[in-house]
Symmetry: C2
Subunit: 357 residues, 2 copies
């Protein structure tokens, strides 16, 4: 039988510590070239809505050790609304009932069979958190206790959860530009984590004295600056432009998630993609040769050094997601779903064939 | 609702003329850069069976004009058995009930929603046939009547069906190395097409006097040679090595399916892929700059010349399949399935989400 799982199933089945653990284990395979991640491709075309574009995104991953492969697909209606001087990329939930479209298909590398199909949303959140959580685990000081969070959206939630899973955090301060958002975030996360999260009015108030600073924003601008760096600090970003170039350069150790390549962008002719014409923020990346930087899998596998002294400043940039993460996290979800009898079983024959393809 | 279709549904819904017509129409979009094909990627790793490899193959396509996108996925257990001096790539149907695993997921470019999921096998056969059928349509002489077929497998069936859909073929001769196979093929296709198919003992008997020669083999060796070429002939191949390099060079017009790029092969470290170590046959490609050759979409869109005289020799090489073909053919299948009430409806909510991915 092939399992159809929901986001609720994935949320029930995959805890942050489990996701961190499976990536921790699996990344050794990846670092040694025994796992595969096929870099994301983004295909962009017009759609019927003139102010939007259609985007088909896919990425693949194979973990022979865990016996699974995964294809993650996103089928998005995209807009780029302006907010003052800034521009944000916004997915418009346009499928029936106002929903987003993201799917993970999980296959067995032993038999080829489709094991499970489930929406990508919850796993996407958890795996981004888990990735930066591993950055904290391998780079932050062992005694790190004070955490500054820049951002208060869903990414900030999983970032914080992941950090608290790998370090004994006892003080959290959160800044984001919108007071109502950061207040709500602080209240919710204080309850969830059992650690007081204090909302603050200025980013400096979150950052000064922090052992760990986590950026989890939805802007494409710098939000963490070199002047805020202090000895012993670990700075974490969920995308490249969040940390100012000067700060990245000053770090004693700068580790990125992956250098497996840049996403393949395929556009129809003459298509104008708003964020591409802006450029701001992304220029950060060009001053540093990201491809030459050591990666998280290399760090986990002991192929590159992490923090070697308590007064060093470390940085981790989650520069790109990997299809491989969905295979690894998917293996956990599938195993636990089978154990728990979760999900809807459909005949595997529906998704296989006797005709030679 | 999202439709789950079977190979039987696709076979009932998609005729060869319809597949030829939709590609004929859609390829203009592709030639003009308004459609997208994301080149196939093949990820290869070990599997539990020591004499086999696991392969995860994916390709994407978007047709804004038809309002659909497609992702085609194959999850294969692969072996390379030897047959005398030759080596064949054989997919082992290892999923439950001894089945293959190939899927097409069809999405709307208007809403992003998943429209349908179906096995790829039947569509795969029809689209390869339709592609070479378009080669015949645009390159063979208008009065072409005599067809020589080299091959008697399933590819040969759809190749023949496609040729008969675009030209008034009244004489067919078929050669393949195994007498029982070619006899059975001839009997079956005579019945299906209403045109007598004569099995012959030597390839020359199939080729001499033919207006159209179609190669549809499963070897990686040359099977059509320059010495067999005659004025006015059209020669068609379903993969590059089938036609001898000297023959490709002698053709007055040589058109390939696509120059969208070569597949991305991603292998785990130190993996030995038997066919890569062989090399024979594939060396054909290197003597000709395939990337510089005109393509079928360009030919259909009138951006490159086809046959300009009846005594010219033309060649078409179906060098690579495109994800875009599954989008275009998928649009037809989906429309007809909805009209016919075919397939199994599942709630679209199962494959969409309210969580932001």
């Amino acid at each position: 039988m092939t399992l159809i799982l929901s986001n609720a199933d994935v949320e029930n089945l995959l805890t942050m510590p489990e996701c961190i653990d499976v990536l921790d284990e699996a990344y050794v395979e990846l670092a040694e070239g025994r796992g595969i991640s096929r870099t994301r491709s983004d295909s962009l075309t017009p759609t019927i809505r003139p102010d939007a574009l259609y985007g088909l995104k896919s990425m693949d991953g194979v973990s022979p050790k865990l016996g699974v492969s995964a294809v993650r697909i996103n089928s998005d209606i995209l807009t780029w609304p302006k907010q003052g001087d800034s521009m944000r990329r916004v997915k418009v939930p346009s499928a029936p009932n106002g929903r987003y479209v993201g799917l993970v298909l999980l296959f067995s590398t032993h038999t080829g069979e489709p094991l499970a199909i489930f929406p990508d949303g919850v796993m996407q959140h958890i795996r981004v958190g888990a990735t930066n959580g591993l950055g904290v685990k391998y780079l932050a000081r062992q005694d790190a206790k004070v955490l500054g969070m820049l951002g208060s959206g869903w990414q900030a939630e999983t970032q914080l959860t992941a950090a608290c899973a790998v370090r004994r955090i006892d003080s959290i301060r959160c800044f984001s530009p919108n007071k109502a958002n950061r207040d709500a975030f602080a209240a919710k996360m204080s309850r969830v984590l059992g650690v007081e999260v204090v909302p603050v009015d200025q980013p400096e108030q979150a950052v000064v004295g922090a052992d760990i600073v986590m950026c989890a924003s939805n802007t494409i601008d710098n939000i963490f600056f070199e002047r805020w760096m202090a000895p012993g600090m670990h700075v974490s970003a969920i995308k490249r432009p969040e940390i100012e170039t000067a700060a990245l350069k000053r770090a004693d150790r700068l580790i990125i998630h992956t250098n497996d390549g840049t996403p393949t962008h395929i556009l129809t002719k003459d298509l104008v993609v708003p964020e591409k014409t802006k450029g701001k923020g992304w220029s950060v990346a060009e001053e540093i040769d990201f491809k030459a930087l050591p990666t998280l899998p290399q760090l986990i596998a002991g192929k590159t050094a992490g923090r070697t002294a308590d007064d060093q400043v470390t940085c981790f940039v989650n520069n790109l997601g990997l299809g491989y993460q969905f295979a690894a996290a998917g293996a956990v979800v599938y195993r636990k779903a089978k154990e728990a009898g979760a999900g809807t079983e459909l005949p595997t024959d529906w998704f296989t064939e006797d005709v030679h393809p």
